[in-house]
Symmetry: C2
Subunit: 310 residues, 2 copies
Amino acid sequence: MLHAAALTYFREVARARSIRRAAASLNVAASALNRQILKLEADFGTPLFDRLPGGMRLTTAGELLLRHVSETLHDFDRIRAEIDDLKLARSGHVSIAAVDSLLVDFLPRAIDRFRADFPAVNYTVTAVGPTDVVQMVAAGEVDFGFTFVSGTPASVRFLAEVPAPIGAVMRADHPLASRLVVSLEEASSYPLLTQTGPLPRASEVDPAFAAFKDALTPRLMSNSIQMLKLAIMLNMGVAFFTRLGFLSEIEAGTVAWRPMASPGINKLRLGLLAPSARAMSPPAEQLARRLADGLSRLGNEGAGYMSGSF
Amino acid sequence: MLHAAALTYFREVARARSIRRAAASLNVAASALNRQILKLEADFGTPLFDRLPGGMRLTTAGELLLRHVSETLHDFDRIRAEIDDLKLARSGHVSIAAVDSLLVDFLPRAIDRFRADFPAVNYTVTAVGPTDVVQMVAAGEVDFGFTFVSGTPASVRFLAEVPAPIGAVMRADHPLASRLVVSLEEASSYPLLTQTGPLPRASEVDPAFAAFKDALTPRLMSNSIQMLKLAIMLNMGVAFFTRLGFLSEIEAGTVAWRPMASPGINKLRLGLLAPSARAMSPPAEQLARRLADGLSRLGNEGAGYMSGSF
DNA sequence: GGTGCGCGTTCTCATTTCGGCAACGAGCGA
DNA sequence: TCGCTCGTTGCCGAAATGAGAACGCGCACC
């Protein structure tokens, strides 16, 4: 309905190489078709078809136009399908499992932006350990998950990934913040704040980092990121997290994040995890797509900035 | 006129972010615009704009649609310009200068196919030596030229190029035709047919080939390709030409063309040469474009076949 | 707290466009 | 010559479109 009927008329006449045959397959009168074709040719000022006894054949100009018309109609079908997806996604429910460092900042902000376009969607967000995320996605208990990339069963797949190295997190006026990269030795001379409970696989990935943490006694240990975050703000010491848990504080300039000079730790990646077989619900599909876009944009900016644009 | 007015209406409303402003700049009534927008939203079953006090803003679905509409209208402008070019090119005159080996087969066949779409175009085709082609194009004596690629003045440019190595040409049942590649030694044991007059730059490009030709006494020398072609058909010996002069005979299976095992000779290229500054006449423009397409297609097929399709 | 302004929207009416039907002339094959 | 199919045209009713005036609403200014 967006596009003039003349488009499909023209395309069908070109395909059928006959006005009357096209009229039959379109269920319209041949005269109507003919008039549209004649009007097009008058508009362009040049014939679009050669009239042969027994039918019509496209001229060169007609072939040019047919290409345009076909592309337009095809592209329109695609757009309409996308809009239909959006319609279905306007209300519903999405359940997500993620490692808790993402629930502090990244995921709530993403969901909030998503809410603007999909106001009637409800959410269930569960914080679990990295390996549990994979299990819950595989079991279909959640629509998708958000965790560190590692070997995964065939029943799940990664929609997007982004490098998420562990780095040193501290108040912006902490002495270590003046370093662009923090070595393990430098960090060991300051009080540390460490998280307990299910950990990202940093220790498996980077033996040097694991040994470093084992050798020291932290000033504060907690399984609550909020607790640790407050300790950082009180300048109690240095913690080790992915940047994504502190994007807004980093943006505001209140805390600093610095990469670590330890090889394996910089290979860590966060990924958006979905069941490989089952189709997601429409709103979950949309949110997952937008998160995937945002992630890959984060990735393209290297270890760059967080633009609030997704 | 091809496309529904709704397209430009929608685009302008999105641009102006207001129905009334869009109506003013389109010189239509706001009520008409409004009805089209409402109809679109009814068709899609979803709002395309958010109604804010003070104007309208696209929804997510609206942004999707705007992208489609913009692309469609932009592409349509392009197509219409191309069709206008075709209209202008329907009659007129085209003058071409080319090395004569192309006038035997390649160029006449190309012009014949072109005639089907541009029946009222007249042609002047001049056979000259390779370097004269460049001079005539530079001097503006012809619309474009067709010759071997070499260093050219800035006043001309190549629209397309295709590898055109010199090879051995002989009757299909000639003993040499059983070889896939012909070495200079093999060729020297058979009677040779050579062309006199302005030659392609084979001798400059490939000293080995030049020495080879100088060392032997050909059975037949002529400046007429027709003469040489007849000699080939009478199995008088082996000649050395680009494939393009014998495309139809090769296709028909009456003569064979085999590449030479000599390095420099396989680097020869044929090119379509046009004045760099002056615009060509519309029909010349069209023919040149089609020849360029055909040439690059020939090139993409490697040393492949001649499909009669351009 | 009016009041004016700009916004999208709705209603009515004249105009234009579109599609269906029947008929015509041309080309082609039996 | 007849019969068939082709594109095309005239005529008529139906549907879509646009112009203009009016309505309800939110907002800023006095």
